[in-house]
Structure formats: C-alpha cells, structure tokens
C-alpha cells in the first residue's frame, strides 16, 4: 500500500518541467502584485490629485485580474474535462 502511494506521488519527468514553470509563474505574479501594492500605497499616501482615485481603482482592477487568472485559475471553470 505504501509503495502504491509513493508510486502515485512520484512525478513524471514532463510533470516536473510543467510544475517548475508554474512555480516561476507564481513568483512573477507575486512580484507584480507586490510592486502594484507599493505603487498604490504611495499614491494613496501622497493623494496628489483627484486622478489618484482613478489610478487606485485601475491598479486594484489589475491586481484583481492577476489573482483571478493566475491564482484562482478562473479559466478552468470553462474546461469540459476540468483538468489542470
């Protein structure tokens, strides 16, 4: 039984490559979100003009889009097989 479980858990070589790309993508998205958060923080603190509000909303929408597409995998919902 133990051998069976370990067999199921051992990844195939092509899977390792795919998952490595997914991990890198996760890092890139995280860095993007972190940079956008810092920008909105400084925009919010400075409150230069009324246009700041529009910029803050745009940044929030961009961040939301990144989370939806890359972290929540929203497109998987529309796949018939539902695979990864």
């Amino acid at each position: 039984m133990k051998e069976k479980t370990e067999e199921m858990l051992s990844p195939a070589p092509h899977t390792v490559i795919d998952k490595s790309a997914e991990l890198k993508q996760g890092i890139m998205v995280f860095v993007g979100l972190a940079v956008l958060t810092l920008i909105e923080y400084f925009l919010g603190v400075a409150q230069v003009s009324a246009a700041t509000i529009v910029l803050l909303w745009l940044i929030a929408l961009l961040k939301g889009g990144l989370v939806l597409f890359f972290f929540m995998h929203v497109l998987r919902v529309f796949r018939a097989d539902g695979g990864h």
């Binding site: 479980t5 199921m8 858990l9 051992s10 990844p11 899977t15 390792v16 998952k19 997914e22 991990l23 996760g26 890092i27 998205v29 995280f30 979100l33 972190a34 958060t37 909105e40 923080y41 925009l43 919010g44 603190v45 409150q47 509000i53 803050l56 909303w57 940044i59 929030a60 961040k63 939301g64 989370v67 939806l68 890359f70 972290f71 929540m72 995998h73 929203v74 998987r76 919902v77 796949r79 018939a80 097989d81 539902g82 695979g83 990864h84």
Partner: protein, 202 residues
C-alpha cells in the same frame, strides 16, 4: 476476478476511465464553488457600495503602515498557497504540507493584525458614526472569511498528512486554494477603499 487476472491494457483503461470520471466530478464541484463566489461577491460588493455611499471621498483615520503590513501578509500568504497547490499537483506532499502551514500562519498573522491590532488602535468604535459601522463591518466580514479559510486549510493539511491527496486527485486542496485567493481578491478592493481613497475624516 482478482486484479492480477485483468490484462494490463484493461487496467490502464479502467484507470484512465476513473481519472476521467474524477475530472468530470471535479469540474462540477469547481462550478459549484465559483457559483458560491459569485453569491459571496454580492455581499462584499454591497459593503463596498455602502462604504462609498456613506463616506463618499473620505476615509477613516487608520494607521497607513499597519494597512500596508496586513495587506503584504495576505499577499505573501496567497503566494505560498499557490505554491502548495502546485506542489501537490507535482506529487510533492512534503512541499504541499510546508507551504500550507506557512499559509495558515500568515492567515493567522493577518487576523491578529486586523482584529488584534487595528481594531484596538482605531480612534473610533463600531458605534461611532458611519465610519465605525463601515470599517468594522467590512473588516469584520472579511476577517470571518479569513478565519473560515484558516479552518479550511487546517482540514486540508490534516487530510494531506494522512496521504489522502495525490498528484492526480486533490480537489480539496484546489478548493481551499481558490477560496484563499478569493479572500485575497476581496482585500485587493477593500484595502484601497478603506486606507487609500479619499481624505481622512477628522
């Protein structure tokens, strides 16, 4: 009929068929979860509308540095949640468990930051005019979802320790991860609405 008596190609076919059934089942569960998100989004959307209806282009007097810290903590937690999901789908159970634990710890840190620190430091209470009602309702509702997420992750972690998830079958992990990112998504809009947009109410 014993398993050994079944020809190899038949067993492969059965396994593939079972995997296909599982994927279809997971797709149905995924659709259900997303329908829940849509209904939950109406709740958070209503809170967001209420905030701008009652406060307009003014915001509560809050500690900016604390807002940035709790936001960063939630953002980092989403990063580790993503890693946990990728690790289990790669068959790395140890990596999945470690990243899930880190996510839970960061979720608890976020709760302590908002409920334990921000709520104590805020110069107004829940009954102090519109800003009190708006701030405590928005952060309270969100914190409740974070707490639910931490409990969800704890269940997934304990099941993961028992080896109940595999690279091919881990819908529970995926559901917990999507839920956690949804909580992060809500904060993406709550953070500027509460901390950054408008002038401070004196």
């Amino acid at each position: 009929m014993s398993a050994q008596a079944v020809p190899v190609h038949s067993r492969d076919h059965a396994a593939a068929h079972g995997h296909s059934d599982y994927n279809r089942w997971a797709a149905t569960m995924r659709l259900g979860l997303w329908l829940f998100f849509v209904s939950d989004a109406f709740v958070f959307g209503a809170l967001l509308v209420t905030r701008f209806y009652l406060l307009g282009l003014h915001r509560p007097h809050l500690e900016q540095w604390l807002g940035l810290i709790v936001t960063s903590v939630l953002l980092v937690s989403s990063f580790f949640m993503n890693r946990a999901e990728v690790q289990i789908s790669a068959g790395n159970r140890k990596g999945f468990l470690t990243n899930t634990l880190i996510t839970m710890a960061l979720g608890i840190t976020f709760l302590v930051g908002v409920v334990g620190v921000e709520w104590q430091q805020a110069p107004f209470g829940p009954g102090d005019a519109a800003q009190g009602a708006v701030f405590y309702m928005m952060t309270g509702m969100h914190a409740l979802h974070v707490l639910t997420g931490v409990i969800f992750l704890l269940i997934v972690y304990l099941k993961g320790r028992k080896g109940l998830y595999t690279a091919e079958r881990h819908w529970g992990v995926e559901a917990a991860a999507i839920y956690w990112h949804f909580v992060d998504l809500v904060w993406v809009f709550f953070y500027p609405a509460l901390y950054l947009i408008g002038t401070v109410i004196e």
